[in-house]
């Protein structure tokens, strides 16, 4: 049995044991067993992914496992990178879940306590199932298999989102939003793939790939639009992102990490697999559509993240931002692939994929950090946090690593992939070959969008880290924080190590990226030369005179910092002193800048987009209206796209539901009549078409 087979068996076996343990094990050992099994499942998946990236392939055809269809599994480099993402995230989240789910203070009795419900049988059993489903989605190789695992992933994650539904009403609301969005997405994907498979005359991916060039352009575009809409809703792309900022904050934090780092990226996988692998690429407007949607998501996501005061909501919007950046890369790759500029397409695709991996690493870390804070203080509200650097030093240090990477600053890993993306976009105009006018208009805008996103991203994570963790505690809860148990810090340290490895040695990804790109010949040609190359230190680009050495930058910074720290020697000792309060003595934590006040200048700059709502209520004194009894000030920034787009849609759906209710009056005769008419119609259609 090959390495791939062994790893696959390990993955499935561990997941089964995990699900069983979740259902049957007593509560004292349940969390430990399930977490360990989840991590092992992830390990198996990561090994499969790494082997696939190293060039191993595997096709499994199990005809009897699925009724009416066959279960087909195929492992190739494209699935490999997503297996690695899911697997790596699952290892960190699994280890972390051991500590997170077994809270000593929260007995099973009190459902109002935060964290209650995470340890329940259903949510424990759903965790390994969720991970296994996510690991099976990228290797599914026919429509039925794919959809079954896709839906299993959606259901398992829904159960996990709802884990704390007894504790907070918002969890239920988030669950409803998530269920509705994910199933609307499923319906669209199902439609798209059914049209595709029907036109191709077979539902295995191999048959569809073979038949795709013969399909009519209209069919191809319909399939693309339907599947793109469905996958985009999973990827949290504007305007289908509304479930993200609800479900991510309300889910248990390791689940948020899995959803945000792994599941959302599978939306990107779906787009790549269907549009560029199965359909074999398309006209340039596909690329333009993806580019525009991605750019909108990136800017809108980062703006909302910047004004968010809920740490996990901030991270959720940051996911929308990063997926937007990936889509910008994929869309530009599609555009250049259609124009025949395959070197650039390969580079941009490599940038998008590397960013997916990097994003998974730092977003896992950050969600786990947010979970540690939540578990220790019960707080997600940045305005009430602060001072954690003294009480949770390790978590704060790890948060700093995550924030550095997420802000895309050197020497973090996010910088490397954003740099690649910028290189690909900026060299679109100077690349050899004719340049489309469309490209000349779109690329400056795309670069502007990426740049604005980068700038706002730095501001966002300075805010999240600076306000959330530094200075003094803004609430008693934050003042009594304690460091997390060891399993939780182990999960976070693993994720941070992943970030560090990706940050200093991205050149290791050059070979695997080349292999992935070779699986998408429609886009990038038979890429003989790797899009990204170089030696162990320096990253070099194909076709462009450009290079960068993340390791050298990190080393240079370290050396310079060491020189600065040593060189002019301290002649006098450092002295602690009270904070300078301009001579006053009542400097208290309420005077600190909060997340809201930090974001205020940019909120004002972007008030046309954000439309912050502000209310001032002044209550006058009873005896004189010149005296004021109290002033109330409320400031909130709503998601404007959601507020504008969704209420009419929801009203229309519920109106239609009311209308449809008239057809259902409880009369058996009428139901029989419906059945009869329906059967008649089917017969007529069949008769006519035959």
């Amino acid at each position: 049995m090959s390495l791939l087979g062994a790893a696959l068996s390990l993955m499935i076996g561990a997941a089964s044991v995990g699900v069983t343990a979740g259902l049957l094990a007593p509560v004292t050992v349940r969390a430990g067993l399930v977490g360990a099994m989840t991590a092992v499942t992830g390990l198996g998946g990561a090994v499969v992914g790494a082997a696939a990236l190293a060039g191993h392939r595997l096709v499994l055809d199990l005809p009897h496992l699925l009724p009416l269809s066959r279960l087909v599994i195929s492992v190739d480099p494209l699935s490999g990178v997503f297996l690695l993402i899911v697997g790596g995230t699952a290892i960190a989240a699994g280890v972390y879940a051991v500590g997170y789910s077994s809270h000593p203070d929260h007995g099973p009795g009190d459902p109002t306590e935060p964290g209650h419900g995470v340890a329940s049988r259903t949510s424990q059993a759903a965790l390994p199932a969720f991970v296994a489903a996510m690991l099976l989605v990228p290797i599914a190789a026919n429509v039925t298999t794919f959809l079954v695992f896709w839906e299993l992933m959606a259901l398992a994650s829904l159960v996990l989102v709802l884990a704390e539904h007894r504790a907070r009403a918002e969890v239920r609301e988030a669950g409803i939003w998530y269920a509705a969005m994910t199933h609307a997405g499923l319906v669209v994907i199902l439609l798209g793939l059914v049209v595709f498979a029907g036109a191709a005359g077979g539902e295995s991916f191999a048959a569809m790939r073979l038949a795709a060039p013969e399909l009519s352009p209209a069919t191809r575009s319909i399939v693309f639009c339907l599947t793109f809409a469905g996958f985009a809703s999973k990827a949290g792309v504007v305007p289908l992102h509304v479930w993200l900022p609800r479900a991510h904050p309300e889910a248990p934090s390791h689940v948020s990490a899995l959803m945000s780092s792994a599941m959302v990226t599978l939306g990107l996988y779906g787009i790549l697999r269907v549009a560029f692998d199965l359909l074999g690429g398309g006209p340039s407007w596909w690329g333009v559509l993806m580019l525009v949607v991605g750019a909108l998501s990136a800017v809108y996501g980062v703006l909302q993240a910047f004004v968010a005061t809920d740490l996990k909501r901030l991270l959720a919007y940051s996911t929308t931002e990063n997926v937007g950046l990936m889509l910008v890369g994929v869309g530009a790759a599609g555009l250049f692939g259609a124009d025949g500029n395959r070197t650039l397409a390969g580079l941009l695709l490599a940038a998008a994929l590397l960013h997916a991996v990097n994003h998974a690493a730092f977003k896992t870390l950050l969600f786990l950090v947010a979970g540690s804070v939540l578990r220790s203080t019960g707080l997600r509200d940045l305005d009430r946090m602060g001072g954690l650097v003294a009480r949770m030093p390790l978590t704060t240090a790890l948060a700093a690593v995550g924030a550095l990477c997420a802000a895309a600053l050197p020497p973090g890993n996010g910088f490397v992939s954003e740099w690649l993306l910028l290189q690909g976009l900026t060299h679109s105009l100077s690349a050899q070959g004719s340049v489309h006018v469309l490209t000349a208009v779109l690329m400056p805008l795309a670069v502007g969008v990426v740049a604005l996103t980068a700038g706002l991203g730095v501001a966002t994570f300075v805010k999240a880290f600076g306000v959330g963790f530094l200075a003094r505690a803004r609430s008693p809860e934050a003042g009594h924080a304690v460091e997390s148990p060891r399993t939780m810090t182990a999960g976070m340290v693993f994720a941070a190590a992943g970030c560090a490895a990706l940050a200093v040695a991205p050149t290791l990804a050059a070979g695997p990226l080349t292999r992935i790109i070779a699986t998408l010949p429609s886009l990038t040609g038979r890429a003989e030369s790797p899009p990204v190359g170089g030696d162990a230190i320096t990253l070099r680009l194909a076709g462009i005179q450009g290079s960068m050495s993340p390791a050298l930058i990190a080393l240079g910074l370290a050396v310079a910092a060491a020189v600065v720290a040593i060189a002019p020697r301290h002649r006098r000792a450092r002295r602690p002193a009270p904070i300078w309060g301009c001579g006053g003595n009542r400097l208290n934590p309420r005077m600190e800048y909060t997340a809201t006040s930090f974001a205020e200048p940019l909120t004002r700059v972007f008030d046309d987009v954000l439309h912050p709502e502000e209310d001032v209520d002044v209550t006058h004194h009873r005896e004189s209206r010149y005296l004021i009894e109290s002033v109330q000030f409320r400031h909130r920034v709503d998601d404007r796209i959601e507020a504008r787009l969704y209420p009419p849609l929801i009203a229309a759906v519920s109106g239609w539901g009311r209308y449809a209710r008239r057809a259902q009056n409880g009369s058996v005769h009428r139901y029989l009549g419906y059945g009869f008419v329906g059967l008649l119609l089917v017969l007529v259609v069949v008769g006519v078409s035959a």
């Binding site: 006098r572 002295r575 002193a577 009270p578 300078w580 309060g581 001579g583 003595n585």
Partner: protein
Amino acid sequence: MVSLLGKILRTGRVAEPAPSRAAPAPDQAGPLGGSVQVRHVDAGSCNGCELELVAAFSPVYDAERYGVRLVASPRHADALVVTGPVTRNMADPLRKTYEATPAPKRVVALGDCACDCGVFAGAYGVEGAVGDVVPVDVEIRGCPPPPEVIVAALRGLTGR
């Protein structure tokens, strides 16, 4: 802008020539060699001394040419220039300012009131002279002291 430029060119240099340095100051500001950042603290002054202090930093007297500069925070300062008799409300802030200033530091009592409470001596709201609250290194007499005297005293600190 052109008119401003014309004015700049017409005006030329307004700073008066530097008077020769008086006898080397006792302090000679060893560690502060040629650079003294000054934080001004108004401990209850009538603002007469402030006017003269501002004049000392104006283009005409240009105290900056000797390496003195006014700064916004005692953390950045080497010397505190305190004016006025120290009122009860300002005694504590003055102590805090002194405490907030990194060593080595100097305190300059500017004006008669700062040196010995001047006409306000014994008033009910006055805590005492600056020297009663924080250790004073340099005293500048006068009510108010003229800018030349202030500049000369500050030169004693910078040693230039």
